[in-house]
Assembly symmetry: C2
Amino acid sequence: MDGQTPAGSFSLGTMFRPGLPDPAPRFAGLPKYNFVYGHNDPDQVPAEALAESAARVLSQNGHLLGMYNLGQAPLGHDRLRAFVARKLAQRSGIACTVDDVLITSGSLQAMDLVNNLFVAPGDTVIVEAFTYGGAITKLQKLGARIVPAPLDAGGLDMEALAAILGRLKAEGVTPKFIYTIPTVQNPTGSVLSLERRHRLIALSRDHGVPIFEDECYADLVWSGERPPALYALAPDRVIHIGSFSKSLAPALRLGYIVAAWDVLGRILATKSDAGSSALAQMVVADYVETRFDDHVEDLRAGLHAKLDVLIEALGEEFGTSAELSVPEGGIFLWLKLPDHVDVRTFAKAALDQGLAFNPGPEWACDPESARSHMRLCFALPSPQHIREGIAELARICFEHTGVPERGANRSRV
Amino acid sequence: MDGQTPAGSFSLGTMFRPGLPDPAPRFAGLPKYNFVYGHNDPDQVPAEALAESAARVLSQNGHLLGMYNLGQAPLGHDRLRAFVARKLAQRSGIACTVDDVLITSGSLQAMDLVNNLFVAPGDTVIVEAFTYGGAITKLQKLGARIVPAPLDAGGLDMEALAAILGRLKAEGVTPKFIYTIPTVQNPTGSVLSLERRHRLIALSRDHGVPIFEDECYADLVWSGERPPALYALAPDRVIHIGSFSKSLAPALRLGYIVAAWDVLGRILATKSDAGSSALAQMVVADYVETRFDDHVEDLRAGLHAKLDVLIEALGEEFGTSAELSVPEGGIFLWLKLPDHVDVRTFAKAALDQGLAFNPGPEWACDPESARSHMRLCFALPSPQHIREGIAELARICFEHTGVPERGANRSRV
């Protein structure tokens, strides 16, 4: 009887707090040509080996799931934290122990936890001018004043950053941190040189500004070689985050924060989720201990091959109309169309036709500055879908903007 | 060189935002006699069957982990949502579809998401006078004004609730919701009768106040019979949450919210974690489809046997000094010592001696009202540890308060 109250007689929505974001749209399925959202290559998920690991850890230690955190520290599963510490020592030059590692539910939770530690409404943060769109929206939601720092082909421009810090100092403002993705920058794909890293640390020291280092993509540098992490160079002034989303699989939802206890102890105090899925932590710990290096090498080769397909397709379809920032690793490519093209004018039309890309403005502190840019993720689509998708993109873009007038081989007009 | 800055020369802590909670203590291991924190019985985790499910789903669909949310809706894994809908129809009388189910990282995230949807600082919420301690701290953190509603042996006292709602109405205050745990109330263990459920819905309707129904423990009613969920009686005015933490294993971190799309769509818009661990969702979906009913029946029997051990041990050690609220299901028992006993006077001493219990004041809107109460979780400790632990508890309690002067069989003085 109570369930039969006529619809509309009472709406829970009238009781919602003010200031909520607009409702999410209903899920409409993934677009056919999907160049967004940081998916990985499903064909490169080591499903059989993960199945073996899962069967092994559950048979041996499944009973521990009966306890929150497996009865271990709230920092996360001991065995996975130990692997993260070893991996970071080996690959990123970081000297840390398991006590410096907090496992998170992906690097998104890591970002939320770190942002929430520092940022109160009105606080200033420095962010790379082009950066992960989610980082911008998260900081905006906290009421941060976001000051963009210019990038060039080598990453953060240190002269420009020094000038910004000087200007802020003159205003009496000390930024809460500099958020940077130094190793495979999102979206430009650059890797910051060791020299610039030292310069960045020096600026951080001179101005008393912490560094928030995001190394989501660092295991996917094509060459396999990368400079030491900023955290390796100055552990007292850097908070480091990373993830298994790009090196293994995003739906596992496993990332980590590396920081000293005076930081992690505070973060734990603000964390209200009773830990990340311990099943995922157990399975991944078992898998990565023996197979991570080989897996990452195979994954890199596969991703690089897809990037080559993408670059070739862009050359064929867009010719000289698209300036590519060819990435030094990772899963996305950043490109620029001629100045008069605003990619927002056809993003919706493309989506309606089953093709999704990240409009540059969503990946930029100053949206207008990236109106002619777009980010294309290439890990998920097959080589055939990459080729077909880029042909579609060129067709739709031309329809709306007149660009590209011609590909490498043929004219559209 | 940069890494060798003398310790203390720069502290990231100086940049933290104001208003953070105190740092978390370092993890010191679980206490020997552990009557806290809602752990389950490790011996009752179906580890081998979960291993089979994990091997199966990863071999068949492990590649889907390469996509966020397995390429499915942000509401969570289709197969697990379908099971939740079927389970709720069968056990709780709820008629809902997969579109009304959002999978969360445990019911803690569910609580955070629902609280955040309604509560702005200064908002009033009605909460059962004795309730889950985490619910109180979460609401306090949001700046809510918490109005306690009295309980009796049958759960929420409807006359008292009507009076509270009337008084608030006279003040011009409409509470944002009534938060209730109707089926195996935490901590008192009662199950609200169908008659009271109808009365509660009527009060909700008369006063235009939503109901936030928490059914964490509802699958663990000893009798296997329970009245329909409040959501079943009034889906337009109830938000329902539940969990697999108590019916399967807490370290899986899987819970759910059941609500109409106008609620879930808003919640999704505020959710920033890209979904809960899909590996856990896949494994649990495969397991529960065929084994949930049998598992829960076995689990209930095992838990009830442990409760019997606990009740016997309390009788032996505390005699008539402890008034027990014998629970109708679940994993904890609520008890009261004589009025002059303040359990806070020996909680720390007990912990130092390896024994942990939940002091009543942490499970009460008005801490003083529960100074003589404590909550004892009995799922984790073995029968032997339950007996030894309760003997220890009586010894420590007597040392600090002179109670219990005698157990059933012997005097302490």
